[in-house]
């Protein structure tokens, strides 16, 4: 008996898993590059777990002060927290510690980026439509959890930059109407800066949030398997089937290759590209500040919203509504509210309650694409404003003018971008042309009924028309030459 035969027999006789495993391995997944975005996020998570576990072996979640006597000379003799000291030791004295720390940080940035791009893919192709609404909501929650993981993670080293970040988070919590004062006191363990916050962030970062994150990732994938993947329209592809490659061997090999490529990029960046050099910022002192100060990219839009907003504070019956309430609570609340409820909001607009397993191209749903583009624009403007001090220096323009321009862009831009997107989508939908590729011309055919029909030719990669691969036929009535 071969080794394979023996192991299959052993497992099957004990678990009866052979026929189930065979079905699972023969499961079909459609092929498209954009379906790999979610996988990249998943593989970043794998890298995050491995590097993160290594980091926990060295990190000390403790705000108690000690005198630094480690390898980094400029800080020797200074009173710093045990958390900051352990981060420095991990970076300078633990062999392979710095590459692990930097790879972890890069992986976190790419993780959130991959989630966001994956979300855009799902949004603009309409993959969230029935029956996938629940998985869409799980995906939005995963994005929020990933952002929270990032925020709690980069606050752990207790350096000056992260301390300022926490100070702002504290102010945002204080701005929650009615209960903000209490929540801030409970969450931070008293008036800022209370020493307990570091150990609490650690519990959130390595226990509570990862448990939720991993549980929901499991659910996200389980639902995907149960419902089968969506696919783009094409020859032989219908709402009732799924055309693609099997899990074993093709998809497994491809996914393993993608896992290895992702790890290669992250490890390369972790070794070669410096990130978050906490020793340059110095330890957190509540009366010191660095400038310019930017959070990690996925928090940038929130920081930008804070800079973009006006001084809108007022009192109601002697109670105060903070100027932070609008940009830090109302705006993200509305944005993530719309995002979460989008499958139901779109159903209201389109009255489309049918199941969809074939994907749209963005042009196929002009209204959805327009709203998505407007939303992305607002996100982008907030993100830019988060770096207004950097752009001020780079462009030699005053921060005030940048803020004013972006305030206008935030209000006017979405309407302009939305309208432009809508009309571009509509014209692409009627012309059936590819927005980037050259127009390959139309093929004109006599139909059996005696009329004519036209079909746009799909250009081959070298730009010539390929008559063997006609795109979706246009109904004869819409073709330009109409037959008598």
């Amino acid at each position: 008996m071969s080794m394979l035969e023996k192991s299959v027999k052993y497992v099957d006789e004990r678990l009866g898993a052979a026929s189930f495993a065979r079905t699972a391995l023969r499961k079909v997944f459609p092929d498209h590059w954009s379906f790999l975005l979610g996988e990249i996020a998943l593989f970043c998570l794998v890298v995050l777990i491995f590097t993160g576990v290594f980091l926990t072996f060295f990190y000390t979640p403790d705000a108690r002060l000690l005198t630094y006597e480690g390898a980094y000379a400029p800080l020797r003799g200074q009173e710093i927290s045990a958390a900051y000291e352990s981060t420095l030791r991990l970076s300078f004295e633990v062999r392979a510690g710095l590459i692990m720390r930097q790879t972890h940080h890069w992986a976190a940035l790419v993780f959130v980026a991959a989630i966001v791009i994956h979300l855009c893919r799902v949004f603009f192709t309409g993959a969230f439509r029935r029956p996938r609404e629940l998985n869409w909501v799980i995906g939005v929650v995963l994005l929020l959890l990933a952002m929270a993981e990032g925020l709690t993670g980069y606050s752990l080293p207790d350096d000056l930059l992260s301390g300022i970040g926490l100070r702002i988070v504290n102010a945002v919590v204080l701005a929650i109407p009615v209960v903000g004062t209490w929540i801030a006191s409970l969450l931070f363990g008293g008036e800022f800066p209370a020493p307990d916050i570091i150990s609490r962030l650690f519990v959130f970062h390595v226990m509570l949030l990862p448990a939720l994150l991993l549980g929901l990732v499991g659910l996200h994938i389980a639902i995907l398997v149960l419902q089968k993947h969506t696919q783009f329209p094409g020859p032989g592809r219908t709402e009732r089937n799924v055309v693609g490659k099997r899990l074993w061997p093709e998809q497994t090999f491809k996914s393993v290759a993608l896992l290895l490529f992702t790890t290669a990029v992250l490890a390369g960046m972790g070794g070669l590209a410096q990130i978050n050099p906490v020793w340059q910022y110095g330890p957190y002192e509540p009366f010191n500040v660095t400038s310019p100060a930017q959070p990690d990219w996925y928090i940038g839009f929130l920081d930008g919203a804070l800079r973009l907003a006006g001084p809108w504070r007022f009192q109601v019956f002697g109670y105060e509504i903070s100027e932070l309430f609008w940009p830090a609570i109302v705006v993200p609340g509305i944005a993530f509210g719309i995002l979460t409820l989008w499958p139901w909001l779109e159903r209201r607009l389109t009255k489309d309650r049918a199941e969809h397993h074939l994907l749209d191209r963005p042009r196929d749903a002009p209204m959805r694409t327009a709203i998505g583009a407007a939303g992305l624009w607002m996100f982008f403007v907030m993100f830019l404003e988060g770096g207004n001090d950097i752009f001020g220096v780079l462009l030699d323009v005053s921060v005030e003018s940048i803020t004013r321009v972006l305030q206008v862009a935030f209000v006017v831009g979405p309407v302009a971008i939305g309208a432009a997107t809508y009309f571009i989508c509509r014209s692409l939908k009627t012309s059936q042309l590819h927005p980037a590729r050259a127009n390959a011309g139309l093929s004109l055919r006599r139909t059996a009924a005696g009329g004519y029909e036209t079909t746009p030719l799909d250009p081959t990669p070298d730009g010539h028309a390929d008559e063997t691969r006609p795109a979706a036929p246009v109904p004869a009535s819409e073709g330009r030459p109409s037959a008598p």
Binding site: A175, K245, L272, P286, R307, R313, E320
Partner: protein, 301 residues
């Protein structure tokens, strides 16, 4: 074993293209192996972050390349179509589940709405649920007065970051200094900026101006009223304080009122005077609660 026999076993059915792919995979796997060995050497010679990064990247890249070429050329890949099955269990299936949950689960669950037990169960669950939430209150003290008070009291000496008392004649013109109450250097809510401005330039109400020794030494809270960052940048030409976090700008001569950016409230002023030794002392706490807004800020307990 001769050459021909081996080819029969491993590569008898390989096309020319597949043989070339096999060679590419072999080279890639060799690179991975070499990188792995090199990582050993680097690690045991003390480690070097950039070299480690390069070797890790090269190792994973070559291994990934090997797997990708394998997937592309050496698998029996074909596009197949699989039918989607109905997701729903149908009305009968749903009815069976409802029966299992209700009808077949005993007399009370058959008609839960009519049962007082179910209502009591909800009440019990609610009470216990709220009680289980109580330990959360141990996470922090009641906010109480903490946000309204700082370390400043009448008669507290003004000291610098090193705990040294600040003399009235110490600051140069347009000089500024971060100060704390004596014995509480570094205390976050008590940090203040002492700024020397030319006499007669301050535009303050009379009672506030009386708390500025010599009409020149004015002190404001250093915590931004917007999001709590230290307002660390002083621009002497315009006599303005700028918060580096969100660029709120405060007019020092006009009571530190914000004139650009998201901050809505002035930086609270710290009342000062000069003691018999010529050192600056506080005349009391700040004129208003320091730091960012909070719900009950207008209602001191």
């Amino acid at each position: 074993m001769d050459d021909g026999q081996r080819r029969d076993r491993a590569g008898g059915e390989l096309t020319g293209e597949q043989r070339r792919a096999e060679r590419r995979i072999a080279v890639a796997l060799a690179v991975t192996t070499l990188c792995g060995i090199a990582l050993f050497v680097v690690y045991f010679r003390g480690g070097q972050t950039q070299v480690e990064g390069t070797l890790f990247a090269a190792a994973f890249l070559s291994l990934g390349y090997a797997v990708a070429v394998w997937a592309e050329k050496l698998l029996d890949a074909r596009e197949v179509s699989e039918d989607r099955h109905e997701l729903t269990s149908g009305p009968a299936g749903r009815q069976a589940l409802e029966d299992a949950l209700g009808e077949e689960a005993g007399p009370v669950l058959r008609h839960p709405r009519r049962s007082f037990l179910v209502k009591l169960l909800a009440a019990a669950g609610g009470a216990l649920g709220l009680a289980l939430f109580l330990p959360v209150l141990s996470l922090g003290p009641a906010p109480g007065r903490t946000l309204f008070e700082t370390g400043w009291r009448k008669g507290k000496k003004v000291v610098d970051e090193n705990g040294k008392a600040v003399a009235f004649d110490e600051l140069p013109d347009d000089g500024y200094l971060t100060v704390f109450p004596e014995g509480e250097v570094g205390r976050s809510d008590s940090q203040a900026l002492l700024i020397k401005v030319p006499r007669g330039t301050l535009r303050l109400p009379a009672d506030r101006l009386a708390a500025v020794p010599g009409g020149t030494h004015v002190a404001y809270s250093k915590i931004c009223t917007h999001a709590g960052c230290p307002v660390g940048l002083y621009r002497a030409q315009t006599r303005s304080l700028i918060c580096p976090c969100h660029q709120s700008q405060f007019d020092v001569l006009n009571g530190c009122k914000p004139y650009f950016g998201p901050a809505a409230e002035p930086l609270p002023q710290l009342p000062l005077s000069v003691d018999s030794e010529g050192n600056l002392v506080a005349e009391g706490d700040f004129f208003a609660p320091v730091g960012p807004s909070f719900w009950n800020r207008g209602r001191k307990p």
